[in-house]
């Protein structure tokens, strides 16, 4: 990627302006770290007044500003544009004929970025410009990243709002009908409306719980307590909690493990993983189907595999599966409630344990989710933030 940096040269000596213009004409700065090549475009002003006009018309990225000018001085120019300088929109390099401490102090107070003492060599000029350009590019990059992050946040929030609005609208609708009696007085109808309202309320609650899990994992604020534990325990709890739903639909849920399967883990996090996997396996199963939960230690890894005999997915559907709020919508899933966050939570947690999630599925046969976790996770203090965010973001802090 190339970036163009606009430089305004403010000096009353034509030779000086020409010299700077020549030195920068074919000058490029390579920034391999951020994959940027910086080129320069120059413009000139003879006086402080002219410089202010040009700055007003189009803000340059770098201002090479001579202090001694015929009209208003360089320091006065700096004073007038101080708000822009402070905002970091432009960097000023002061050119001083005599190394005057007073000028330097005043200029620094007004936000000058650097100094060049006259006379200077083309290399000294290039070094000062290179430094300023590097700073500018990083600032721009950091702003872009921040804007992108905000954008993603906004999209996420708007989807959350939409997903919460749907169950609330349904519940409100039923309550209004019950209140104004517009569906008549049949008690069976009333009961049906109350049942549906409760189902939608559960859905909204599940969404809120999942969101809280997700944000805690992402922010890394949830205190993790890693301790040696047997994965079969949270697995049994997960199976127990789906037992009523499974029984109602004639689904058999079975745990397969040869003795205890131990690892260093946070109990709460393992519960989230297992609850999500097992409840999905029941939800997306057929009546009378099976769920097999297999736990095993394979070398340094603990493998959790949950297989169902449910509706399955096409190859295209499995590819989309791990995104946030992805719910596979088709005839078979229409009446199944879900927040669309479960799998993205599992994936984030798996990464936290130096592991991953994979899926194998066949339509109308069933789906197996396999989660692999390091039994001894790499960094006990790691947060999800460390696990998933490239370090670049923090080093560009402007």
């Amino acid at each position: 990627m190339t970036d163009l940096v606009k430089v305004l040269i403010v000096d009353d000596e034509p030779g000086m302006r020409l010299g700077v213009e020549r030195a920068l004409r074919h000058f490029t700065v390579q920034m391999p770290d951020v994959d940027q090549e910086v080129h320069f475009a120059t413009d000139q002003a003879e006086t402080g007044e002219q410089a202010l006009e040009k700055i007003e018309a189009e803000l340059p990225d770098i201002i090479l500003l001579d202090h001694k000018l015929p009209g208003i001085s360089g320091l006065e120019v700096l004073e007038r544009i101080e708000p822009k300088v402070r905002a970091g929109d432009t960097l000023t390099i002061m050119i001083t004929a005599y190394a005057s401490l007073d000028t330097a102090i005043t200029a620094t107070k007004r936000g000058a970025y650097d100094f060049l003492a006259k006379p200077f060599t083309p290399d000294e000029l290039k070094n000062a410009v290179r430094k300023a350009a590097g700073r500018l590019v990083l600032t721009r990059q950091a702003r872009r990243l921040a804007a992108e992050k905000r954008q993603v946040r906004f999209q996420f929030i708007s989807v959350v709002a939409h997903e919460l609005k749907a169950p609330l609208a349904a519940i409100e609708g039923y309550l209004n009908i019950l209140k104004d009696g517009s569906a008549g007085t049949d008690p069976a109808a009333a009961e049906r409306m109350i049942d549906r309202s409760l189902i939608r309320a559960q859905q909204a609650r599940k969404l809120v719980t999942d969101l809280l899990d997700l944000t805690r994992i992402e922010a890394g604020t949830k205190k993790r307590e890693l301790a040696e534990l047997d994965v079969t325990e949270p697995a049994r709890n997960a199976i127990e909690s789906v037992a009523p739903d499974a029984a109602a639909r004639g689904i058999t849920v079975q745990l397969h493990a040869e003795g205890p399967v131990t690892m260093m883990a946070d109990r709460g996090e393992l519960e989230i993983v297992l609850n999500n996997l097992v409840s999905n396996a029941v939800k997306y199963n057929r009546d009378g189907g099976r769920v097999d939960v297999r736990l095993a230690r394979e070398g340094p890894e603990v493998v959790i595999a949950v297989a169902d005999t449910g509706i399955g997915m096409s190859a295209e559907e499995t590819q989309r599966l791990f995104g946030e709020f992805v719910r596979i919508r088709n005839e078979k899933t229409r009446s199944i409630m879900g927040s669309g966050l479960g799998l993205s939570i599992i994936k984030k947690l798996a990464i936290l344990y130096g592991g991953d999630v994979s899926v194998a599925s066949e339509p109308d046969v069933g789906t197996t989710f396999t989660v692999r976790l390091q039994a001894d996770p790499p960094e006990a203090e790691a947060t999800a933030q460390d696990a998933q965010t490239p370090p670049a973001e923090t080093t560009y802090k402007a």
């Binding site: 609208a169 349904a170 009908i177 104004d180 517009s182 569906a183 109808a189 049906r192 939608r200 009446s335």
Partner: protein
């Protein structure tokens, strides 16, 4: 006694008007369908429901609704428009009411109150979600009469 008798008479009148009238409701939200069905049936209509455009098209092959209520946005973003267009082409005399949550979500306003707007919207009425049943009922009465 008199009041009670009058009430019974009115109920009879209502049911006479709506008897044998069939309303087709199409929406991908099963609770909206349920709510429409309960209320329309209480008002004396026969109600057919479909959860998507395909189901609706199939129902239309075998039944003759007297009015259709369609959600604008279903699985296909403009499913309601397309379906509305199909119904109007196959059964020009069946009034269509489009309901939509699109105004609340996007701020876009649709209207079908002038001839010009009806020219491209193709629906006889547009209602914003959440739909008040009274309001819907008024539109149904107006369209069924005409």
């Amino acid at each position: 006694m008199l009041a009670g008798g009058l009430r019974a008479d009115l109920d009879e009148v209502v049911h006479m008007e709506t008897a044998n009238k069939t309303v087709l409701v199409v929406d991908d939200d099963i609770d909206f369908l349920e709510q429409m069905k309960l209320q329309l049936e209480a008002a004396g209509y026969t109600v057919l429901t479909a959860e998507n455009e395909r189901q609706a098209e199939q129902l239309l092959l075998t039944s003759q609704p007297d009015l259709a209520i369609l959600d604008l946005m279903m699985e296909q973003m403009d499913g309601g428009f397309t379906l509305c267009h199909h119904i109007k082409k196959a059964r020009p005399n069946v009034p269509v009411i489009l309901v939509t949550g699109v105004t609340a979500e996007t701020g876009l306003e649709f209207d079908a109150s002038t001839d010009e707007e009806r020219g491209w919207v193709k629906a006889d009425a547009l209602l914003a979600k959440p739909v008040r049943f009274e309001q819907l009922k008024r539109q149904i009465d107006r369209l069924m009469k005409g």
